[in-house]
Amino acid sequence: MKQKNACVSIQNVSKSFGTHSVLRDIHLDIYEGEIFGLLGPSGAGKTTLVKELAGLDTPTEGTNFLFGQKMPNLSLIERIGYMAQSDALYTELSAKENLRFFSELYGLKGKKQAERMEEVAKVVQLSNHLAKVVSNYSGGMKRRLSLAIALLHEPELLILDEPTVGIDPVLRKNIWHAFQELKEQGKTLIVTTHVMDEADKCDRLGLLRDGKLIAVGTPDELKKQTGTKTIEEAFLYFGGER
């Protein structure tokens, strides 16, 4: 077994908006070089948690550590690639202009910039549609462009909030293949999802429900623990217990 270094360490994290408690005392370590899936029903607090990891929000209690340093921290941001749940694109601009703009924000220029733009477009299979204005993109195409933007600066940690929503099964398979490749390059990926067959492809899963982390483990461990055959059943099992 390889030595496990925590890339992300969530310690005692709670979050509430006013009196509404959204995250409750979460403890979680995510290791370097793994694909970690965050699973949970709508409103469970997945987005809230990953936003804190991306530095866009702060916990009410507890601390998030990334690469051993306390978040939020501006110097860590360059090492993170974030893809929000809703597409945040400049729809008046073409896909290429979007890619160029974001790559410049990360200080990419010249040949390197052109290379990266080409590479990420290939990963999400948008190479032939780069000249199109984004407002003419389909939902799935926008999703893929958002993903491409998150990959632009070759971050060590990718935080992807439902990256494959609205993407057809064939493309989804290709994208997961790309995730595996990134993982092999030593990157860490945090992916939130509702889709159970995607959950099976993660190295480890965290089940989130009503702001509580109710189970953490590899897909097989979770299935064994609950004596079920699918992640879906395991999820229902954990959910029903509470």
Binding site: I80, T91, E92, L93, F101, L105, Y106
Partner: protein
């Protein structure tokens, strides 16, 4: 610096794509200025005046080139015409004592009538009064209202449109989630605000050069000072409008709510920026003019365009405008902390 440049390039690109907004920003002020030009510089009003029982010598010596005169036999007839708004006034001579009856519902008409009447009843040529020689310190005695209001309106258009467009752009950035996306990149908060200021600053320069040139060279608005100084004032004013627009957009949830700031923030500035004489504003209200950016810009614009002043006389106003801008920018950066605390 590269990140600010990227922001500026993107903002300009977005603006250029939006042809309609560009059209609005440039042609709307041109259209309104043109209309005002025709309203303010139209021919003088010719009052329609009736005379009842006027003595012969009076009728002979009066100047009927500046009024449309009708002679009546009966006062009742003239009265009817006035009531029917076919006459603006009539003068009845009762025992050689003239009596003026005015229709009186339109101040402009009443004013023009009164002016004519006063002239007609002036103690004519019989006296050897020396003619009063008229000289003006600034402007000229044929400087019309258009020239007086023009500089203020120029400032107002820049303020209004930049405020609105920048505010709405930033609001969209927030509602579409791109602001949050930007804050997940290494972009600093001040770089976002500065990017907006420079991007819109460049655009405003182009916009106001076109509008000011049109006003001065096509409509013939007075321009005693340097054109360059006018652009300088407008640039600083646009920075103020922009930083205020962005700041207030944070308190709006949608475009309609952004519009709601217009009657609260933009319109009152017209009243306090010198379109109306501030001496007559109630004292307890007049302090407002000192907190309206448009007041300082309009004052400087008038100094340059009407009075021909140079940099030495306007720099204080420029500093104040800059102060407003810096204050709003600081507030913006503070407000952005809501989205990212680092």
């Amino acid at each position: 610096m590269m990140r600010v440049t990227a922001m500026v390039k993107r903002i300009l690109k977005q603006l250029i794509r939006d042809k309609r907004t560009i059209g609005l920003l440039i042609f709307a002020p041109i259209l309104v200025l043109t209309m005002l030009y025709f309203v303010f510089t139209g021919d003088d009003y010719i009052p329609r005046i009736g005379l009842v029982d006027a003595p012969e010598p009076f009728v002979e010596q009066m100047d009927d080139s500046k009024a449309a005169i009708t002679i009546f036999k009966e006062e009742g007839e003239a009265e009817e015409k006035v009531a029917a708004q076919e006459l603006d006034a009539y003068i009845a001579f009762v025992d050689n004592q003239p009596e003026l009856v005015l229709e009186g519902s339109d101040p402009t008409v009443t004013g023009a009538t009164m002016e004519w009447v006063q002239e007609a009843f002036q103690p004519g040529q019989q006296e050897n009064m020396p003619q009063l020689k008229v000289e003006t310190v600034f402007g000229s005695d044929d400087m019309g209202q258009f020239d007086y209001f023009g500089p203020v309106l120029l400032g107002f258009f820049v303020f209004f449109f930049v405020f609105l467009i920048a505010g709405v752009s930033f609001l969209r950035e927030r509602t579409t989630g791109t602001l949050e996306r930007l804050l997940a990149t290494p972009l600093r908060k001040w770089e976002i605000v500065v990017g907006y200021v420079i991007g819109f600053g460049i655009f405003t320069m182009i916009q106001s050069t076109i509008i000011a040139s049109y006003a001065v060279y096509v409509l013939g608005m007075v321009m005693e000072g340097a054109f360059f100084h006018v652009l300088l004032v407008i640039l600083l004013l646009s920075f103020t409008a922009l930083s205020l627009g962005i700041l207030l957009s944070t308190f709006a949830h949608n475009e309609l709510q952004m519009m709601q700031f217009i009657p609260i923030i933009v319109v009152p500035q017209i009243f306090f920026s010198g379109l109306f004489n501030l001496e007559t504003v109630a004292e307890w209200l007049s302090w407002i003019s000192y907190i309206t950016p448009l007041y300082y810009a309009a004052d400087a614009l008038r100094d340059i365009m009407v009075r021909g002043y140079g940099f030495a006389e306007i720099y204080m106003n420029l500093i104040i405008l800059l102060g407003f801008t810096l204050f709003f920018i600081m507030m913006n950066i503070l407000v952005l902390r809501k989205f990212r605390t680092m």
